[in-house]
């Protein structure tokens, strides 16, 4: 079974870590991940950039709407994710708009650039 494990935290605190604190935390996290990676059980992992770098595509009346900032509704919940390697934000927005158009629900797509921790190697 594939699981997505999503990390929630206070970004102001996390992005205020000093280089030493960051390295200490990451070292411990890598140590926990290593056995899974060796067993071929670890997929792509990473850290999302600050929410200031986020863009959200929402269902619009005609065309989907592109909004600055992260997805901030509380009624909807995280239902899935894609990782795409594209040229720029325009391409990511275009792709999300296509998804939004064919998706019958009121689904929003939050576009978050991220730093790769581990490229991952799971077989499905």
């Amino acid at each position: 079974m594939l699981y997505a494990i999503l990390c929630y935290a206070n970004e102001e605190t996390v992005f205020a870590w000093s280089k030493e604190e960051e390295e200490a935390v990451m070292g411990k996290l890598y140590a926990v991940q290593e056995p899974l990676a060796k067993a071929g059980k670890l997929g792509p992992t990473g850290r999302l950039m600050p929410t200031t770098a986020a863009t959200t595509v929402r269902k619009g009346k005609d065309e989907p709407l592109v909004l600055d900032g992260p997805f901030a509704e509380t009624k909807e919940v995280l239902l899935g994710f894609y990782t795409v390697d594209v040229e720029n934000l325009d391409e990511a927005v275009a792709f999300s708009k296509e998804l939004s158009k064919v998706n019958p629900g009121s689904t929003s797509y939050e576009i978050r650039p991220f730093y790769v921790f581990h490229p991952g190697a799971v077989k499905t």
Binding site: N10, E12, T13, F15, A16, W17, E21, V25, M49, P50, T51, T52, A53, T55, V66, L67, D68, G69, N88, L89, D90, V93, P113, Y115
Partner: protein, 416 residues
Amino acid sequence: MTDIAWIDLALTAARPQALGALLRYFRDLDTAEEAFQEACLRAIRTWPEKGPPRDPAAWLIFVGRNSGIDAVRKRSRNDPLPEEEVLSDLSDAEVDMADRLDNSNYRDDILRLMFICCHPDLPNTQQIALALRIVSGLSVPQIARAFLVSEAAMEQRITRAKGRVAKAGVPFETPSAAERATRLSTVGAMIYLVFNEGYSAGITNPDNAAFCEEAIRLARLLLRIFPGEPEIMGLLALMLLQHSRAPARFDRQGQIVLLEDQDRNLWNRKLIDEALALLDKAIRHRQPGPYQIQAAVSALHARAARAEDTDWEEITLLYGMLEHIQPSPVVTLNKAVAISKLKGPEAALELIAPLAEKLDGYFYFHGVRGGLLMQLSRNAQAREAFDRAIALANSPAECAHIRQQIDKLGAAVAPA
């Protein structure tokens, strides 16, 4: 991380929102600061035991408001302080309390707190000092060290600046959209001042260099509460890009390393990636502004794997655009540097000749001019320009850098 280290980060992060709300509530900066201080002390006492609250800012506002009221009452010899127990037992009430707090105001609270530090009567250095004290919560000794003045002098400077702010009157009414936009751009300029104070210090003064990170933190905060502002995206991108080069800007002896000579492997890729993502967002708004354009120039340098891969043509175009939006001799000087890469030093010298009078007291003008003249082997004139630059240098590192150029001149002349 220890409890105390975590609490310290959480208090710093919550400060602008909490202090901004307390300022709106008490309408007096000193009372608000005292109340915030009191709330922080209680946080340090109770959080390690009870665990951190889900919303630290809401907690601090609630506790600060109560203790501030107590302080005001105490001064008028009224009711005694409530029992510590009453204030400590907040965990259950927290969700409820967060709802009761006036959340719709928090954006303007933070903006107001930053805005009062930018009073036009205050010189730049006082704006920076005041912002670091009030918004960032740095201690007076920390700020004094960064500005290389005594604590007493800095204390006096900050007190005087606060007095001016109080006398001018803090604008408490909810700003109109136009007023908000003005405040936002004023605050953006102040944040960039803080950044530049750190940037120009380089590695010579580590207390000062920390200002770069503080400015980046403040810009992120501003962008989080005003997410659709392309110029704030541009400002943050610009600072991230400039800061990404910090590890490469000076050599081991503390000498300046020019952009074209820097080891690009030392540049911080994470900061660059974040900046490029922000610029992508900003560009989609199709509202170019000075920060976005400067960030775009900086991004072209970041995208070039080697100095010789730099897209000078695009940079020239961008500086042309900047000249159009915000004409200034300094922008023309920067454009001239790009032109020198495309068309040679002669064309660049021609372009900067009319600037001589306006930029006569500007270090970079004479430095650039000397460099261009040196490329043309007009050594005597180059020497003259470099001498002028040394006289205007802002730091020992700048001075040393120009001396190196003069040494090169000497070496070129020697064989003849």
